[in-house]
């Protein structure tokens, strides 16, 4: 059997390499943090995520996926942790915390408040897919990688979410 020479995967050993990779994906990282973390904690979440990524950089395997997907997973996780901490602290009532901030944000940036409120009421998985695809502007493949599901599931979840939103908005307009 002949040994196949394989190029060693690129590991991130030095701070410079790591920071360079991080700088390249920072706009997307920021958008995910602002979208999925409680509105006032996006910076904290990014800091926690970057430090966690640096601490566990040996676990990053380029063969398993891109650096962007890896860091976004950490950001998403830290965002939910921050939301859970907020709920535990009793900052806002139960599950309303991480949903209401979206509608508040919509009011702040003057967007489609009705649509944001409807999106905020969707089940978590649908909210994630809608947020990552439409708002963070990630392609379907990357949304699938990030959430650990198939592209088909992403598409069907998007379709389900759109149907739910349409039904909800239609109900609001008729009433």
């Amino acid at each position: 059997m002949t040994a196949v020479a394989r190029e060693a995967p690129k590991r991130l050993h030095s701070v410079e390499e790591f920071t360079a990779e991080l700088n390249a994906v920072m706009p997307v990282v920021t958008r995910v943090a602002r979208r999925f973390a409680p509105s006032d904690q996006a910076e904290d979440v990014i800091q926690e995520a970057c430090l966690a990524a640096w601490r566990y950089r040996h676990r990053f395997d380029p063969e398993q996926g891109s650096f962007q997907t890896w860091i976004l997973k950490i950001v998403l996780h830290e965002g939910y942790k921050a939301g859970a901490r907020g709920r535990r602290s009793g900052l806002l009532l139960a599950r309303l915390t991480d949903r209401s901030h979206l509608s508040t944000a919509a009011l702040q940036w003057g967007g489609d408040h009705q649509l944001e409120t409807t999106v905020a009421r969707l089940p978590r998985r649908q909210r994630e897919v809608i947020g990552l695809y439409y708002f963070v502007d990630l392609p379907v493949q990357q949304v699938a990688d990030l959430l650990g599901i198939s592209c088909g599931t992403v598409k069907s979840t998007l379709a389900d979410a759109r149907r739910s939103i349409q039904a909800h908005l239609a109900g609001q307009e008729s009433s």
Binding site: E43, W54, D112
Partner: protein
């Protein structure tokens, strides 16, 4: 506009409304540790109150040791650290084999060795300040109780009446309780509360239909355990059917291997 277009437009607007991307935080490569987490700050008052409580308990124990007032069962003696006189042997204490029983751990000095404690037959043992003695396998008649160190226990009882709907090959079944275990601060008693009731086949551990007239235990029923002697505990129901009608529950004792021969009759062995 359809929903897809509306969502795209909303996303576009949202992205444009966002301020500039945040900068990469400075990575502290020397310690490689994250800054203290916010939730940890919530533990500070908790730790402070625990420290105060520990001090209060310590003062109470000291007070009991110096004044000779009865000390709560299970609290450790502090006679070595205070100026109280050492326990003087009396004529009755060493000669009574069934007097107050010391804890299974030889290293722990228990308050019951104080000279002013009058011996009583099979009186409550001062349990050690460790929880280990409760952990293990206990039995009485057809009942088996396994207390694990993780704060849970499993108790198997013969069903009354026998289970119905046994799968092929199953020789029988027993009623199984899963229980949570909580220990008192002094480690003298353990409170077990039923958190799950099921009928389980012998051998295969598969769940089968419940007995025709229901289970003997209900979720939420609870009882306390305390030591009567090394390897011998007594059960006192505090919640549920058996608490309301103690006579319905049979033998209150639970035994363990290593029990003194003179006491084995407690568990019907």
């Amino acid at each position: 506009m359809d929903i897809d277009g509306r969502l795209h437009q909303a996303g576009q607007l949202w992205r444009e409304s966002q301020p500039q991307a945040l900068r990469v935080p400075r990575l502290d490569t020397s310690s490689q540790k994250a800054p203290p987490r916010r939730w940890m700050t919530g533990l500070i008052p908790l730790a402070a109150s625990a420290a105060v409580a520990a001090m209060v308990i310590g003062v109470m124990i000291l007070h009991g040791a110096t004044t000779g007032h009865p000390v709560p069962v299970g609290s450790t003696s502090t006679s070595s650290s205070v100026d109280s006189p050492p326990p003087r042997p009396t004529a009755s204490t060493p000669a009574q084999p069934s007097s107050t029983v010391t804890a299974p751990r030889p290293s722990s000095k228990v308050a019951a060795t104080r000279s002013d404690v009058s011996p009583q037959p099979l009186s409550t043992v001062a349990a050690p300040p460790v929880l280990a003695p409760f952990v293990g396998q206990w039995f009485v008649h057809g009942i088996g109780l396994t207390i694990s160190a993780g704060g849970y226990a499993v108790e198997n009882l013969p069903p009354d009446p026998p289970c119905s709907g046994l799968p092929a090959g199953a020789s029988g079944c027993f009623e199984q309780w899963k229980e949570s275990v909580a220990y008192s601060l002094d480690g003298a008693t353990a409170t077990l509360t039923i958190i799950k009731v099921a009928a389980v086949t012998v051998g295969s551990n598969s769940v089968v239909a419940r007995p025709s007239n229901g289970f003997q235990g209900q979720v939420g029923d609870s009882y306390t355990l305390r030591f009567m002697a090394p390897h011998l505990m007594v059960r006192t129901w505090t919640q549920g059917t058996f608490a309301r009608n103690p006579s319905l529950w049979g033998n209150p004792y639970l035994c363990q291997s290593g029990l003194a021969q003179t006491l084995t009759s407690k568990c019907g062995a």
